[in-house]
């Protein structure tokens, strides 16, 4: 972590700032987070290439700082009802536990780094058997088949993973609003009335649920369903307008495709 920050109360690496805040030597209340972010952005501007580990490290630290600060800025116990205060304390304890755990692993990482360095100074002997040493060795290849040799070759030459930015978390399912519209147009007339929760219960990925929602908005726009929500964040009730056409008359191309 090379990024440094400069604020009225502190100047130096951002990582150290977090440590200072944690050890109570700097009051997070006095640290303008904007200055921290500005300093980091300025630092990035000087980079020749993007250093992903440092970037993500900054985000983690910045997030912790924001969380700490937001807690300091929260009104005191007098202003909140006891239940909410309890929830606040629970969250606070969780955050505390997490900070402690992170500190412990950071300390362990320092230890590992030291061990690695020490261990690298000693090189093991790997010369193996002396050339002129005569061994009446049993056949090491006993039971080995030509196929196993071939498999070993493939194992040995298999491409090794190259560290890359992992995109596996990006779903490759392509879901279209058109598909969702036709599905809903089939399901809803017989169901009569359903909640959005019921309609999306069988779905697991977020993008599918979002597409289902867009499909409903589309149907609503076409006047084929009516949507009703009792209160904010309440269940969304979906009612099929009696007599509305159940076929999708519009071409699929009219709808967007979504790829997560």
């Amino acid at each position: 972590m090379t990024a440094t920050v400069s604020t009225p109360v502190y100047e130096g690496p951002i990582e150290v700032l977090l440590q200072l805040v944690n050890s109570h030597q700097v009051d997070i209340y006095d640290v303008p987070l904007l200055a921290v972010v500005d300093a980091f952005v300025a630092e990035i501007a000087n980079w020749d290439s993007v250093d992903l580990p440092t970037l993500s490290e900054f985000l983690v630290i910045a997030a912790v700082l924001v969380e700490l600060k937001s807690r300091r800025l929260l009104p005191g116990s007098g202003d909140v009802d006891p239940d909410e205060e309890l929830v606040g304390w629970e969250e606070r304890d969780l955050l505390l536990a997490r900070l402690l755990e992170c500190q412990a692993y950071a300390a362990a990482a320092d230890g590992f780094s030291l061990l690695l360095e020490q261990a690298a100074r000693a090189v093991p002997r790997t010369a193996g058997l002396d050339d002129d040493f005569v061994v009446n060795a049993p056949d090491l290849l006993e039971g080995v088949t030509p196929d196993q040799v071939a498999e070993a070759f493939l194992r040995a030459t298999a491409e090794r993973p190259v560290p890359t930015v992992d995109l596996y978390h990006v779903t490759v399912d392509t879901v279209t609003v058109a598909d969702a519209v036709s599905e809903l147009a089939l399901r809803l007339p017989s169901a009569g009335r359903a909640t959005f929760r019921q309609l999306t219960r069988h779905l697991t990925s977020r993008i599918e649920i979002i597409v289902r929602f867009l499909a409903l908005l589309e149907l609503c726009k076409q006047g084929r369903v009516s949507l009703d929500q009792g209160h904010t964040f309440g269940d969304l009730e979906v009612t099929w307008v009696p007599g509305a056409p159940t076929t999708v008359s519009v071409g699929a191309s009219q709808f967007d495709e979504y790829e997560g």
């Binding site: 929260l74 412990a104 362990a108 590992f112 058997l129």
Partner: protein, 190 residues
Amino acid sequence: MTLSPEARAIEAVLVVAVEPVPPGLLAELLELPVEQIEPFCDELAESCRVGGRGFEVVRIAGGLRIQTHPDMASYVERFANVGVSSRLSAAALETLAIVAYKQPVSRAQIAALRGVNVDGVVRLLEHRGYIAAAGRATGPGQAVLYATTEAFLERLGLDRLDQLPPVEDLLPGPEALAELEEQMRPVADG
């Protein structure tokens, strides 16, 4: 001081071994009960220290091996060109620490602790041979669980995992804890 025949034999075997030799195998070769092997291993290691040899005999990853004395690193590096394999980033080291202390552990569990996506780092550590898949979780999704490897112990120069400092020792002390807690208290009641 001269080595005992048993310590000599152990040394000879270690000279031709290409990986750490477990005490059980040494016992088999010397036709001795395994508990009698230990003193001879100690004698051998001690003789290297006392004699100021250029190598040492150490317990690594559950076995005995000969390795160059750390003080000779500059000569060995120049000769073998065995430069320290490229350094691990702070993020990689912390991830490695989490796996070492929480194993077996899934990627999601590591990510939850680190607060970031750790897929790339986990892959790097797996590729370097420090960690490996060691089964699957029983829960839904059956996430792959990771554990550290023998190579991890060898790279860190450790004999067993329990030689790592207990994680309690790494936690900040009670004072730091109290201060941290103080810091997190909302302003008005502080």
